[in-house]
């Protein structure tokens, strides 16, 4: 029998919750879909009966300029949200790779970030409210629309990076940021030494990227005098800002993310196969590897990364490659607790079966 995949594109959160519940009550497997930019992440679905798209949930619910808080539906693209915020000289400091086209819901579910995380942290740090559809058909919110809040459990952290394994994110609220007073990007060809130099300047860079060809990009933001001084002291040539847009467009077909304690990152990157293409954020502890080699070398690098206390996660790969390497690597020691959480929210395992670690 050939299985057919139903495609649902609900236009309200209530409708999405209803469709999820309908599927769950028939034990049909549901894969939530946003912009599809990160769809290569995770294991191949064990089952797939319903694709639940969030793309018609694309409204800005409220942007309070004075409060610097924005609430959006999950299917809005990052670019559409930034466009709205830019009208009041504000922005969400999120610049994921494989852009453009990410939805906010997809970015929260996958936990994908970019270079600006060095200064602003990840959405884990500025996501202040969340609303999630659960397989039992309920819509559950956590947090709120204030920038500081300890009212009840931090449900944002529960769903952030959970790859839709516990519920489908339908809306989110963020603390947003004012456009910096000054924003300058400089570059060098000086490799790791140059990266270290840029990282330890009196003003810390807001983004610092190093590439396998030895090139370094450093972005300084903040008060005008301080940024100008650090740029002068470094003496590196100034780059146009469009360089960041091009950087965010990177999306290798075979792609791994290496995340490790910062002190271990350089060693791990230098241990990649000779001639490997990569870029890294040494101030964060993350490197991205455009894999040209075979699966045994990926397994070796993963083993070294895990020994150093980190992880190697596949961001994209052809199915057979992904199956051979495995999407996530060794499960964390607390996997049993995670499984119990999964069971409490999705007892029939209808959400993204096989893709995440639970």
């Amino acid at each position: 029998m050939v299985s057919t995949v139903a495609v649902a594109k609900p236009s309200t959160a209530d409708e999405l919750a209803r469709r999820l519940h309908d599927a769950a009550s028939q034990k049909l497997a549901v894969v939530p879909v946003g912009g599809g930019r990160a769809s290569g992440m995770g294991g191949a679905p064990e089952r797939l009966d319903v694709e639940l798209h969030t793309t018609r949930l694309d409204r800005v619910i409220e942007h309070s300029q004075a409060d610097m808080v924005v609430s959006v539906e999950a299917g809005i693209t990052l670019e559409a949200l930034q466009h709205e915020l830019a009208k009041s000289a504000q922005f969400l400091p999120l610049d994921p790779f494989s852009s453009p086209g990410h939805t906010i819901g997809g970015l929260l579910a996958t936990g994908w970030t970019g270079p600006l995380r060095l200064r602003f942290g990840s959405p884990r740090d500025f996501l202040i409210g969340i609303r999630v559809a659960l397989p039992d058909g309920t819509l559950a919110s956590g947090g709120g629309r204030v920038v500081k809040n300890v009212s009840g459990y931090d449900m944002m952290k529960l769903h952030y990076g959970a790859l839709g394994s516990l519920g489908v994110i339908v809306a989110a609220s963020f603390k947003v940021f004012p456009k910096p007073l000054r924003d300058v990007t400089v570059s060098s060809e000086g490799g790791w030494d140059a990266a270290d130099q840029a990282l330890t300047m009196p003003v810390a860079p807001s983004a610092l990227e190093i590439f396998s060809d030895g090139r370094v990009l450093a972005r300084y933001t903040g008060s005008g005098d301080a940024v100008d001084r650090v740029v002068r002291d470094l003496g590196w040539p100034v780059e146009d800002h469009s360089i960041w847009e091009r950087h965010s467009g990177r999306a290798p077909a075979r792609w791994a993310r290496i995340a490790a304690p910062r002190s271990a990152l350089r060693g791990l990157v230098e241990g990649l196969p000779r001639g490997a293409g990569w870029w890294a954020s040494p101030g964060i502890g993350v490197a991205h590897w455009a894999i040209a080699s075979d699966t045994p070398s990926v397994k070796e690098v993963r083993a070294r990364t895990e020994t150093a206390g980190g992880s190697l996660v596949m961001m994209a790969a052809p199915d057979d490659f992904m199956r051979d390497v495995g999407a996530w690597g060794t499960p964390p020691p607390t996997i049993d607790i995670m499984r119990r959480l999964k069971h409490a929210f999705d007892p029939d395992h209808v959400l993204n079966p096989g893709r995440f670690v639970v």
């Binding site: 459990y153 990076g161 005098d225 964390p332």
Partner: protein
């Protein structure tokens, strides 16, 4: 009351005879935290090691006895109060700083380490620990992690959860685990993120790995007076609206300034309707440019009597006044009841005027000292517990103030936690389904409900809400 002898003996075998307290007189010290309501534990256990904590929780699990982890007891929401009796699990003997790594800029501490002590020790390496609750001279990092505490400098640096990299925890079955660590983007669910701020209801914390930051080379602290709370609030919005997020942006009202000045002589202008304390840090260029810009904005918004601390000692004194403000309020009345609702920043003037009206209605003095930049209120209702029937009035006034916060799109607590005192109000902001999802988390971690029972979730048998109980205000207000 009291524990069965057999249980007390089991506890003594784990921690030693002297580390179990169960005589009524000695227990009284552990009846309260920094909030209003108290309840006696049946026993206090002074744990010195992770093994002690795990052993005690195993005993509690076996006998289904409540166990409440407790640090310095400075909490302001009843989080450490043993409202259903049982064991107060005191961790203040676990006070070693186990490691400071100046290269990775991390520290590993035991839960009883006092907040300020970590920053003092880290300062030898040019580093500091950013979250700085006003009680930082006494409160513990374990308690801070359990409550997800804030502090004045969280405006720029973020609250405790933004600085905890990982924790060693003990679950309700006595098992010990590490959650997270110093590598980013860890595989699996973010258990550490869920556990920080869970108020001792999901686990006990036995080690905390935190991020340390480089001490900025230059710090500038400014004070400005304003004719009223409204003008000061407007100035706060204007500063942030100009794209400047200071390290701290604190407000004190006239009542507070009077008490602080009488106590500290820090040079606070006592004629002002409100005072703003603003701090910026970074390089010398940054602080110079930002103080000039902020000074201009404050002046444009009716700020006067502006001055900048010229020496570290002067800066210390300005902060001593702010952080010691609540103590200084004892000059007006011996007791205070402090709420910490949060509103969207632009609603500050409205909510503060509502708070003032509520105080007048109940004839109770109210002093406001709070994190204006975050919209995080701290109205202190001042009273004398010896006055007849005053407690009822104080509680009603507090409830009305929280109600005003919620009606303006706010939340019940910015940094003190829900604990005992605000659990009844949770249905104001969360629907049954919202609370149901949180309860699923509770049931996974603590299926028998032995960890800090009676907190966070409403317990209708204990405390009823006086004001009309609409539910799920978040949804009614069409936030989503």
């Amino acid at each position: 009351m009291g524990l069965p002898n057999q249980v007390a003996e089991e506890l003594r075998r784990i921690v030693g005879r002297a580390a179990v307290i169960d005589s009524a007189n000695d227990l009284r010290i552990f009846e309260r935290d920094g909030s209003i309501e108290g309840a006696m534990p049946d026993a206090v256990v002074l744990a010195s090691t992770t093994e002690h904590v795990a052993g005690v929780i195993k005993v509690a699990a076996k006998h289904k006895i409540p166990v409440v982890p407790r640090g310095a007891g400075t909490g302001l929401s009843g989080g450490a109060v043993t409202i259903r009796g049982g064991i107060a699990l005191q961790v203040t003997r676990m006070r070693r700083i186990l490691n400071i790594d100046p290269v990775a800029q991390t520290a590993i501490v035991e839960p009883g380490v006092v907040n300020q002590e970590l920053s003092l020790v880290a300062a030898q390496q040019g580093l500091f620990y950013a979250p700085d609750p006003s009680s930082q001279k006494a409160c513990t990092i374990g308690g801070n992690a359990a409550e997800n505490s804030g502090g004045p400098h969280c405006l720029y640096y973020g609250v405790t959860t933004n600085h905890v990299l990982g924790m060693e925890i003990v679950l309700a079955d006595g098992s010990v685990h590490w959650v997270s660590g110093d590598a980013p983007d860890r595989v699996g669910l973010d258990l550490c993120g869920v556990l920080v701020g869970s108020e001792g209801t999901l686990c006990a914390i036995t080690k905390i790995k935190v991020r340390l930051l480089r001490i900025p080379p230059s710090i500038a602290t400014m004070l400005a007076a304003f004719p009223s709370i409204e003008t000061a609030s407007q100035a706060v919005s204007a500063v942030i609206g100009h794209g400047i997020v200071p390290a701290a942006l604190e407000m004190m009202d006239n009542v507070t300034v009077g008490a602080v000045e009488a106590h500290y002589h820090a040079g606070y202008p006592t004629d002002a309707g409100a005072v703003l304390l603003v701090e910026v840090d970074g390089t010398a260029e940054t602080t110079r440019e930002l103080t000039a810009a902020i000074g201009k904005i404050l002046t444009e918004n009716h700020g006067y009597a502006m001055r900048e601390a010229q020496t570290p000692a002067e800066r210390e004194l300005l902060w001593a006044g702010r952080k010691g403000a609540i103590g200084a309020l004892g000059r007006i009345k011996p007791n205070y009841y402090l709420h910490d609702g949060v509103v969207p920043r632009s609603r500050l003037p409205q909510v503060l005027s509502a708070v003032g009206e509520i105080g007048e209605h109940y004839k109770l003095p109210v002093a406001n000292v709070f994190h204006a930049g975050d919209g995080n209120l701290h109205p202190n209702i001042l009273f004398d517990m010896r006055d007849r029937d005053v407690m009822q009035q104080v509680e009603s006034a507090g409830e009305e103030m929280l109600r005003a916060v919620v009606e303006m799109g706010g939340a019940l607590s910015g940094e003190h936690g829900i604990g005992l005192e605000k659990s009844a109000f949770m249905p104001w902001i969360y629907s049954e389904d919202d609370l149901g999802a949180m309860h699923r988390v509770k049931d996974v971690f603590d299926p028998n409900g032995i960890l800090n029972p009676g907190k966070i979730f409403p317990d209708p048998s204990r405390k009823a809400v006086h004001l009309a109980g609409r539910t799920g205000l978040a949804i009614e207000a069409k936030w989503w």
